[in-house]
């Protein structure tokens, strides 16, 4: 039953326009204005210079250069900015994009080839952008017998969970989205979501290869979560806290990797398995099960899963840095912000721009972020390197390594930590 489109008549056209305008006005008055009122009633508006920042005031200030800087500064203190941009999703996604580019170039260099080269003039630096545009414009094909709602929602869930993981990683002093006292427990809880999402997506696709891949991913993730969690207990025993920021602060003089190298190695290997990276990329083994649980994803759904997995990679590398490599700790190398720019302004030829309220970031924060990024990059290099060096491992060997070797080693690590604690070397009342 197809409807034949009626012939165009001006009267119908005007009627349709008027109808649309009428319904828009009705909906706005009935739903929109109450919604705005409710929103303004429940949200705590920030107070700047003793004034409540109403929307009207905010728009007035935006046109005023002197006032817009504190406005931006206030905006940067909001939770929304933290979640969406700086220590949260945007920062992580930017680093993840960098990781994808570096991975492709480094792997190409290792394999004596060129890699992305032509897109963006300089060594293919815009390749990732063009890939993203390609994925956006591709058709999304969904298997006919798939469980559509779950299949649609799985990539979003994957990215969302990865972003939640990113939000727990402290980047610099007081620069973390969620500074909670049970930070490490929250990390474990979030990691526990990934196998569920993987199995849901693979099951809902209603296809053979995704199903086998999903079951493999489930096996792999669950069996490596145990050594992953156990290997971190050593750090928790020595610091006596689950708060990630406090764990970083406890490493001001020495890093935990110096005392717990076994735990660091176990955590690194378990991390590779959790990330499904080579040599543990069994869920995506293309010569056996096409692309594993990603087989039926197409277009931007695939892109979202990739974004999620690289966000996860960044988050795991960040967690490694936070727990074992001293987080943002490092010598102060960032140059101090010149005081006269704040007081006198910047003189550029005839124009003097006075911007009170600068700097937006403190020196400690920038320095901490710099060190954190440097250390994370080093860890990411070692996560990427095995991709060019190792073949894929087999599922029974993988489970054997997980259950027999890594769990044993992580217990050894716990005993080392306990020994150091009870010998009085380290810990809250230790001599060091």
């Amino acid at each position: 039953m197809s409807v034949i489109a009626p012939k165009f008549r001006l009267g119908y056209f005007i009627k349709a326009l008027l109808d649309n305008i009428f319904w828009a006005v009705v909906l706005l008055t009935l739903a929109g204005i109450p919604a705005i009122m409710i929103l303004l009633f429940y949200i705590d508006l920030p107070i700047i210079d003793g004034q409540i920042l109403t929307p009207f005031l905010a728009f007035t200030w935006m046109t005023h250069p002197e006032m817009s800087v504190p406005l931006v500064k206030a905006f940067m203190q909001t939770d929304f900015f933290r979640i969406a941009a700086f220590p949260g999703f945007g920062f992580g996604a930017l680093l993840a994009a960098g990781v994808i580019f570096v991975e492709r170039k480094m792997l190409a260099k290792l394999q004596l080839r060129v890699g992305p080269f032509y897109c963006g003039k300089v060594e293919g630096i815009l390749q990732l952008m063009s890939d993203g545009i390609k994925l956006l414009t591709k058709e999304i094909i969904i298997p006919a017998k798939a469980d559509k709602p779950i299949f649609w929602v799985a990539p979003l869930l994957f990215v969302g969970t990865a972003a939640a993981f990113v939000s727990l990683i402290p980047v610099a002093p007081k620069t973390v989205v969620a500074d909670i006292d049970v930070g490490l427990l929250a990390v474990f809880a979030i990691i526990g979501f990934f196998p569920i999402i993987t199995v849901l997506s693979s099951w809902s696709a209603n296809s053979k290869y995704p199903f086998i891949g999903g079951i493999r991913a489930l096996h792999q993730m669950i069996s490596f979560e145990i050594p992953l969690i156990l290997s971190l207990l050593g750090v928790v025993i020595l610091t006596g806290t689950l708060n990630l920021s406090e764990i970083v602060e406890s490493q001001a003089t020495y890093w935990w990797i110096a005392f717990l190298p076994v735990g660091a190695i176990v955590f690194f290997i378990a991390m590779l398995a959790e990330l499904e990276r080579i040599p543990f990329d069994l869920p995506e083994a293309e010569s056996e099960i096409v692309a594993g649980w990603l087989t039926e994803f197409s277009g931007m759904m695939y892109g979202l899963v990739q974004l999620g997995s690289y966000l996860k990679l960044y988050a795991f590398a960040g967690l490694f840095v936070v727990l074992f490599l001293g987080g943002w700790q490092g010598p102060m190398v960032w140059p101090p912000f010149p005081e006269e720019i704040v007081t006198e302004g910047i003189t550029m030829g005839p124009v003097t721009a006075q911007i009170p309220g600068l700097p937006l970031f403190s020196q400690e924060m920038l320095n901490g972020t710099l060190w954190f990024i440097l250390k994370t990059a080093a860890v990411i290099f070692f996560i990427l390197l095995p991709r060019g060096v190792f073949p894929r491992i087999r599922i029974d060997l993988l489970l054997h390594v997980g259950w027999y070797r890594l769990i044993g080693l992580s217990f050894v690590n716990i005993f080392i930590a306990l020994g150091l604690l009870y010998a009085g070397v380290l810990g809250p009342e230790g001599i060091l």
Binding site: R113, V290, F390, R394, I395
Partner: protein
């Protein structure tokens, strides 16, 4: 609603536990063929190879073309190893037509066929690497293969389909100062393939994946009629270059590599070890080659043979490659039967994969040194 099945057809009873996977022909883990794999969980219950997707009727085509025009289409089954697949044909036709090949042509043929064997082995190794998820092992052999393809291009004038061997010698002589370029690139090639040891053959993860998988015992290897690297990996010292030397192989200094274990690891290592021997043969042949002389005997336009049958076989990249040519006093051969190593090694697949894990399937399947297009002919 039930449909009436035509008489003689029955619906297959489906076991709930057993899942049938079609690995191929549109699967990244197969060539131009299909493996019908039945899995119980992660274990393979049965595996049925199903070749024939690229059957070209090469044998029938041979009966309608004369001895020279058969050359270009006969090398199509293995374009990476095109010199070696033409080699037995040329030997057989020379026997039929009673041609005496010049000494220099024999050496040139040996050099070209050894270069081509390495080119084929590198291609095979690249795919073996990507089957095991080792992307570097895909890129390195594909890149280093270029060194030898460059040499072959200098000799024959084409990168893969050379059409270089003809009954009575080779098409053209080596180019000027080829020896220096050849020695330089072959030496560098040998240095490069030595570097594969650290990253691939001595890699503990690779060893753990391929060792003790798909073991073919010495008796089974002989009983199933395997050949080439599969046979030598099972401990049988059989190399046609040594056992039935053709052309000038008896003058050259090389050895055959034999491993005893008969698993996927040994099967994948034999071709790699053979490449070192190929480099040795090339250097030796360049040294012992007569420095001048003809490389091709002149042939009549449409040569005819007598009423004879000739079977000649050579060692190709995938094992014994034989051609049975029957001549009935005509310009065209009466019958050409091609016996290829790939097809003879294919029979191992159901034996080797039964009871293995699905993860071992690519490792075992591609270690058989199998080339689907050649098997279909």
């Amino acid at each position: 609603m039930t449909t009436q099945l035509p008489p003689g057809l029955q619906l297959e009873k489906v076991d709930e536990r057993i899942m049938t996977l079609n690995v191929g022909p549109q699967h990244p883990g197969s060539g131009h063929m299909r493996l019908i794999v039945q899995v119980d969980g992660d274990y393979i219950v049965a595996c049925d190879p199903d070749p024939g997707y690229v059957h070209r009727g090469e044998e029938k085509m041979c009966e309608y073309r004369n001895y020279i025009t058969n050359i270009p289409h006969l090398e199509r089954p293995v374009i990476h190893d095109s010199c070696n697949i033409l080699y037995p044909y040329c030997l057989a036709v020379e026997e039929i037509l009673g041609l005496e090949v010049p000494e220099r042509a024999k050496y040139v043929r040996v050099i070209a066929s050894e270069l081509n064997r390495c080119v084929y082995t590198m291609y095979w190794l690249a795919i073996y690497g990507i089957f095991l998820g080792h992307s570097t092992m895909f890129m390195w052999p594909m890149g280093d293969r270029e060194l030898l393809i460059d040499l072959l291009e200098k000799i024959t004038g084409a990168r893969v389909t050379h059409a270089y061997f003809v009954p009575g010698g080779v098409r053209n002589d080596l180019p000027a100062n080829f020896e220096d370029v050849c020695l330089r690139q072959v030496n560098y090639f040998e240095k490069r393939i030595k570097e594969y040891a650290d990253i691939f053959y001595d890699n503990p993860i690779l060893i753990s994946r391929t060792e003790n998988t798909g073991i073919l015992s010495r008796q089974d290897a002989i009983r199933l009629g395997t050949t080439g690297s599969v046979l030598r990996a099972s401990g049988v010292d059989f190399d046609i270059r040594k056992k039935e030397p053709y052309d000038v192989y008896e003058n050259l200094d090389f050895q055959t590599n034999v491993l005893q274990s008969g698993d996927s690891y040994a099967r994948s290592k034999i071709p790699w070890l053979d490449m070192f021997e190929s480099c040795r043969i090339i250097r030796d042949a360049l040294r012992k080659m007569p420095k001048s002389g003809s490389v091709r005997v002149k042939l009549k336009p449409n040569p005819k043979g007598g009423d004879v049958e000739v079977y000649r076989r050579v060692e190709s990249g995938r094992g014994a490659l034989g051609m049975h040519v029957i001549s009935k006093s005509k310009p065209e051969p009466y019958r050409v039967k091609i016996s290829v190593g790939s097809f003879r090694n294919l029979i191992c697949i159901p034996y080797l994969l039964r009871g293995e894990k699905l993860g071992n399937m690519p490792a075992v399947y591609w270690s058989l040194n199998y080339w689907p297009v050649e098997a279909d002919r």
